[in-house]
Amino acid sequence: MTEFLKGNYELKVEIEEKKEDAEASAIDEFERKALSKLGGSICFVSKKGFLWTGDKNDGSRTTDRTPAE
């Protein structure tokens, strides 16, 4: 599909990024970097189990919360 979406023409005008867009992008980047400093020391992955010990041989996922006994 992607070959059909390629541009096959040259634009006669040069498109410049709007000043407001550039500013918003800079603010987003600043926020992203600043926020990363506020994050924790380890991730939390929602809707996943507590301990993942890898795929079992039968191909099923070990997402269980069953601890070692």
């Binding site: 506020l38 380890i42 991730c43 993942w52 006994e69």
Partner: protein, 342 residues
């Protein structure tokens, strides 16, 4: 008061990945040749009697409520699991944890919780002088560090460390030098079922289990205690997930970062909440608020009873039973006897 703090907190899941994933993966690659034991092997060891455990964080209630002094006096025979930043406080109180948990990938800071033999002058970084996790560090950093080096060297051989592959190599060096036994695990960084998952790539590379850590080392220690060690009655001390009443904002853990992000509006990011038992007004910043929300989400799913014995703080809600430390220790002692004698 605005809900600025809560709005920021909602973005911290992604922010945490941004903060720790790259450096954690880098540390995992450096640490790989040093990995000898898995966390799963730790689950096979006898860590205290019965199914009870105490998980020790380094929040302000540890000192406010003299939790360690009381724990030391109680003759508790269950497992004791401590976060790295509480290790010094435990050893000073004569408590040698069965397990110490460490995960933060920071290259300079974390080794200090084990005593840094290389530290000769107080660092420019005021992290340890500023925060409440170990007040001894705020008084005289050099003397406190030297004393901690001696304590960790003395007791290191008795301590197992549940160490994440994200830990800085300096922490690995220090733990090994002190004779600690290391049991490794991967932090769960992302959904291992999604294409390109970092968690999956780490598991494929080193075969270690991935632990869903809940944002901070205290929550990770609680997860580890029930999901890996199989403990069923867990008392929490020093896991406040908030700041004690009267704590100056300048002394909070993320203060410089909040000022950088919000400038003059940084005060609006703090969230004040009344503890329903003590009626004290504690407060959190966006990070601690997120930790609390995550803990409560996880607690609802956990296959264990969680007793909040901090006698303060902000960790209350469905899935968490509020208890005094003394009541928990008394009950846990009876249960341990029952487990032990059949």
């Amino acid at each position: 008061m605005t809900d600025l703090g809560r709005r920021i907190a909602r973005r911290l899941s992604d922010a945490t990945f941004e903060r720790v994933a790259a450096v954690g993966a880098e540390n995992a690659a450096v640490n790989r040749p040093r990995i000898e034991r898995s966390l799963l092997e730790l689950a096979e060891e006898r860590l205290g009697t019965g199914k009870a455990a105490v998980v020790i964080g380094a929040g302000p209630s540890l000192y406010r409520r003299r939790s360690l002094e009381r724990l030391a006096a109680a003759d508790f025979t269950g497992a004791i699991v401590a976060v790295d930043s509480a290790l010094g406080a435990c050893l000073r109180q004569g408590i040698v944890p069965h397990v110490v948990v460490t995960v933060d990938p920071h290259h300079e800071r974390i080794v200090r919780w084990f005593g840094d033999p290389a530290m000769m002058v107080a660092p420019a970084d005021d992290y340890f002088r500023r925060q409440e996790m170990d007040p001894h560090q705020a008084e005289d950093e050099i003397a406190a560090n030297r004393a901690l080096v001696e304590l960790v060297d003395r007791y290191g051989r008795e301590i197992r460390v549940a160490i994440a592959t994200s830990a800085a190599p300096a922490v690995v060096d220090r733990c090994e030098a002190a004779g600690m036994r290391l049991y490794w695990w991967n932090p769960m960084y992302d959904d291992y079922d999604k294409p390109g998952s970092l968690s999956r790539r780490l598991w494929e590379a080193n075969g270690l289990p991935c632990l869903n850590g809940g944002g901070n080392v205290g929550t990770a220690a609680w997860v580890l205690t029930h999901a890996a060690l199989g403990k069923r009655r867990i008392g929490l001390v020093g896991i406040d997930l908030g700041y004690a009443p009267g704590t100056p904002y300048e002394k909070t853990q993320y203060f410089p970062e909040l000022v950088e992000l919000l400038g003059a509006r940084h005060r609006e990011a703090f969230i004040h909440t009344e503890n329903p038992v003590t009626r004290e007004m504690w407060f959190s910043d966006p990070a601690y608020h997120w930790f609390r929300e995550v803990f409560l989400e996880m607690a609802r799913e956990a296959d264990c009873q969680t007793f909040n014995c901090t006698e303060g703080g902000l960790l209350f809600g469905e899935g968490v039973i509020t208890s005094t430390l003394d009541a928990f220790l008394e009950t846990a002692g009876l249960e341990a006897g029952k487990d032990h004698h059949g």
